[in-house]
Symmetry: D3
Subunit: 132 residues, 6 copies
């Protein structure tokens, strides 16, 4: 199921071809996953999204593996199975161990539970947590 | 605003007093934030939740600071301002730097954008991402 | 804060006045809460929404108190503080005890946790749960 | 699709075997659904989650059938198809009639609509709904 | 997968038959999609929902095509693949061009990103945006 | 409440000053709303986000007013009061009439209701809605 056709390499516009080439170069792999093939109908959003991903997910103050785990957490809370599958694979590819994965899952579950408890109870924010 | 009254220390049942004592001991601080004061009406859920938090958020394969950042990510995606405020304070207390915080925010934003792009496009999961 | 002004009784259109009269009659109370005062700018949606609420929330196969608790559960998962406050008041008004409320909160928390665990793990639906 | 392999009975660690045995004993059935088979990679979270479910979903102030219906409501609002399927089966197993199910669905739909209307309009919480 | 059986035309109650007839008449097509076949178990909710859709989605101040695009936006943010597929087909049927679709997707993605950035940062609402 | 301090004009880094200047130039107004003042702690994300907004929200195949309404729809479904307030003001500033606003609200409400009905019922996607 999909709402747009996934584009094969030989259906890409020149602008999308360029982005695909950069994805392959950056990742050091010929594999381009379905997300980019769906997004390739619109080269402008394709390029902006890829540039964003490249800027945000690369090395920085945080370990790229940790970034993938944060990505998983957000994707779970948003209910995006594709994103969960692709970033779980990504985190594993960047070295996430089984023990780290188990803790990630446990934190996501615990946060989900307390998020909703807090919301149900309408808990007012403690002054100690405010920065202003 | 709240849907239950926040309990002060002298309104606690003996069971809730015990949990509060353990919160104070574990954290090495007299401060008990509003979440626990709202939850304290039900000592059973209070105790179960606190035991869960203690088990999940302590040291393990993942750095407690990273766990707080994952907690923030989930809380943002669930839209829980109280949780965001308390765990942002928690992450800072465990050493999250401004640079790390900026990257956390950027990853959350980027994940949110691609989560919804993927969902809108109905992208099918690549076989490469499946474990079975 | 609001994105529309709340209408007082003497600012209502005749169509909205009629709906407000039915709210008062049905509830046996002069109090009309802010939701209806915000919605009253659009008498068509006001009327359709009120008719829906009246049809759905009245007595039927389920106890009205149980319906209010289901309403709270949905409102918590959607993150709507106004709805949580108004339907928690509603459930209490219909006889929800402190013990029932504590269990409601506990179920909401537990469901939230397992919902996200399931989603994170991408658990496939057991054939036993399918009706077709 | 799944992000972890589902474990069969003969792949379980001794700790997970123990939890599975308790699931079977508590439910009086040999069937253990996929959620637990996915979670079984991490015996600690498996055990904590099962203990939580057992404590929360058993008889108490609320009818177990009503608890399953609340579980469904949360799962729908969180968009968890697995959870919806398993708890709809659970509610039916505990005696939910077609008429009760129809009302549950109607309440979920109505709550979803008014949740978003309220949020769109930014309706401020009436003082009458505040407990403090 | 489904939690209820989809009803074929010859399984409908007389009340549901009447709604199906009106769906066919209003749309000028014999095709009745699965949503209505699932909802048809409860003629009351079927009728109320169809009446609501007919009232809300018809011509008015907004172009029906624009209404379908707003419907898609909501469905994406709620994570409802069925709704996304059906209303994307609906928007295309009402004349949404590829360029309009590309912009719709881009706006949804951008809004999702800034929604979560705002929430993460706990940005207070500017007085300029308040109507009261 | 906020998790970061809002920066005043004289606290901005040179890079953030540049973005603020472009916001003012593009909008033809001296007013810079709180979102940008919170984001300004991280000039990189500030710049990327602003560039994205400028590219996506300007004139194109869709009327900028319609884009603001889509933005509101997403923000409501995500539960972001700040975003709802700012983009409702934005849509009004771009000419959204009261009648258009009323229809927007009605579509958001209706979509939210049917989204959750569909999800509750686990409705399978009709083949007619698939593009592949």
């Amino acid at each position: 199921m999909a709402t747009v056709r996934l584009l094969s390499d030989d259906e890409l516009s020149p602008e999308s071809q360029e982005v695909f080439a950069d994805i392959r170069l950056t990742r050091g792999s010929d594999f381009v996953n379905n997300f980019w093939r769906a997004l390739a109908h619109d080269p402008v959003t394709l390029k902006r999204t890829w540039e964003g991903i490249k800027a945000v997910m690369g090395p920085g103050a945080l370990d790229p593996k940790v970034k993938e785990m944060i990505y998983i957490a957000v994707s779970v809370a948003h209910g995006c199975p594709y994103c969960i599958h692709s970033h779980t694979a990504g985190a594993r590819g960047k070295g996430m161990t089984d023990a780290e994965y188990a803790e990630l899952i446990a934190v996501i579950g615990m946060a989900s539970e307390t998020n909703r408890l807090v919301t149900a109870l309408g808990v007012p924010i403690d002054e100690a947590f405010d920065v202003q």
